[in-house]
């Protein structure tokens, strides 16, 4: 007889859906089916069951092959690597719980490491902009119940946050939006005719990388000042029409993604988007929100924030917290060869960093803590498989609107596989022993 676990949290994207239903076998060991999840979320739960899953740590041999080692040996290697390094980089933290992040930061403080999370290649520039000009934001619940002007700027939730539109932003019927998408006008700004753009009322097919110009043009249009004939490939009339649509709403929201954070101008794009939001508040209520990628990258920023005062790229190597993106950020450190060991947990820089940074990781003593086989695990000196957070172990996570949600455990991890927290706690204890002899 199977049993159903309800209200399960999906540990994939920043939307952090909390309505999944998972059918598990009677002995609580096997996931049989998943309801309500998107294709990516369902795959994440099912992959935890894969028969070829790695269940013991593996150490790279001189010929490049991998040999199974015990968790004790893995703890010893990791602790010694961090202990011996002058300036280790501890990167990742976005696909794990806040509890694990906290233990990781304790280790980082002890060994004088640099702690950086995936915001560094995602919404890092957003965080810089927020420090510059602040951010008028809200929760996803407010958007569901109130928002009637939805702008997706440089983001494609149909692909990256598949249930975002149906749960919060476009389709749901809320308290003041009781006709669902009939109450809302959707504007998409993207250089491609994305699947999100296809369902929009207005699509601005902007010239790639001209976001700053178009944002400025909307601000000009709001002030009724003259505009050139076209800006960023968009005719003047369309810009004025868009500004009128934004002004005429009762509650608007700008969601933005990698299209603005990763194109040139970077944090200045976000600065301008936030200032557009501020300008719109002269006419109506407007908010802005970053479409965060990993399910707990927001949590990593929160935990780093309350412990050290900065949301990413925190350098603890001098015994106090420093923060200077461009200097203390992972890619700059790796490319300049400024770190001498790399510890990765809950992320895959091997696949998602430029190859010049990946080459540096492969040359250094390195540990990759990840349930999957990834390009990072296959170039690291040590790969430590762990239990999936949100599937095999619970923990606290933060949604993209900074709302904390407790992830639930659904099934037991395979026998003998440690969780992130257990592994980090053992490394921490071993470091205490090593440092006691200092």
């Amino acid at each position: 007889m199977s049993k159903s676990v309800t209200d399960v949290i999906c540990p994939f994207c920043g939307t952090l859906c909390d309505d999944l239903e998972v059918i598990v076998s009677d002995d609580g060991k096997k996931i049989e089916d998943i309801y309500n999840a998107c294709a990516i979320g369902a795959e994440k739960f099912m992959h935890a069951q894969a028969p070829d899953r790695i269940k013991r740590p593996r150490m790279q041999q001189p010929d490049g092959s991998y040999k199974e080692v015990s968790y004790d040996e893995a703890v010893e290697y990791t602790a010694r690597m961090l202990y011996n390094a002058k300036k280790p980089l501890m990167y990742g933290w976005s696909s794990t719980s806040c509890e694990a992040q906290s233990v990781g930061h304790e280790i980082a403080e002890k060994v004088g490491a640099i702690v950086d999370n995936t915001a560094t290649v995602c919404h890092g520039t957003t965080l810089i902009a927020v420090q510059d000009v602040g951010i008028p934001s809200c929760t996803l619940g407010e958007i569901k119940n109130r928002a009637d002007r939805i702008i997706f700027w440089g983001c494609n939730p149909c692909h990256a946050h598949p249930r975002h539109q149906s749960r919060y932003s476009v389709f749901p019927r809320g308290f003041f939006t009781n006709k669902g998408h009939m109450n809302r006008k959707v504007i998409v700004v993207d250089p491609r005719v994305t699947d999100t753009a296809k369902l929009a009322d207005y699509h601005y097919q902007i010239e790639q990388g001209r976001d700053f110009e178009l944002l400025s043009a909307f601000r000009v249009a709001l002030r009724n000042e003259p505009l050139p004939e076209t800006v960023a490939g968009i005719p003047r009339e369309k810009i004025i029409e868009g500004a009128e649509v934004m002004k005429s709403g009762r509650f608007g929201i700008i969601f933005f993604g990698m299209g603005v954070t990763q194109s040139l101008s970077k944090n200045h794009n976000i600065d301008n988007a936030i200032m557009l939001t501020k300008d719109l508040n002269e006419f109506t209520k407007f908010s802005i929100m970053a479409m965060r990628g990993h399910y707990n990258v927001t949590g990593s920023g929160q935990v780093l924030g309350w412990q050290f005062g900065y949301p990413f790229s925190v350098d603890l190597s001098r015994g106090f917290a420093r923060y200077n993106p461009g200097e203390t950020s992972s890619n700059d450190l790796l490319r300049r060869g400024e770190v001498d060991a790399v510890f990765v947990l809950g992320s895959d820089p091997g696949a998602h960093f430029p190859i010049s940074s990946v080459r540096k990781i492969a040359q250094l003593p390195s540990v990759c803590v990840d349930p999957h086989i990834t390009p990072t695990s296959e170039i690291s000196k040590l790969h430590v498989p762990v239990a999936f957070v949100g599937v095999e172990v619970g923990g606290n996570c933060y949604r993209m609107d900074n709302v904390p949600i407790e992830a639930r455990k659904v099934v037991d991890p395979p026998e003998g596989v440690l969780t992130d927290v257990e592994f980090l706690t053992r490394v921490n204890a071993r470091l205490d022993q090593l440092m006691g002899g200092k």
Binding site: G124, C158, Q208, Q262, I373
Partner: protein
Amino acid sequence: MAKLKLNLISGRTIQQGVAMEGGKEKDAYTKACGIIEMDPSDLKKLGIWKGTNVRVTSEWGSVVVKAVEATQGPHPGLAYIPMGPWANSVVNPRTYSTGMPTFKGVPIEVEPAMNEPVLSSVQLVQKKCRGEA
């Protein structure tokens, strides 16, 4: 052989997400991300059929991927490689003091490479790290 200059962006696709969670060492991940989405007019300019392997070269590197027709187009002049090690072999790693590499807006050159294989993610990264690819 014809060469075509394009502007490259990268990002998520749902196929990339599903294949990534299914295992980055698997074929499905190569099929989802070892591709370049090009506008039909650009495929024509290059004189190739969709499904042909092409070599993508930028100032920062080079990689072989399969050219496919844009699913979210038209976008002439713009090319799209889903985020992953293939895109990251050619993206601009400069951060301009923000910490963020320039993943979007990379000038590239595309040329047909029918006889060259698309490597799997693990093979590609390992070979690049050893300086073999």
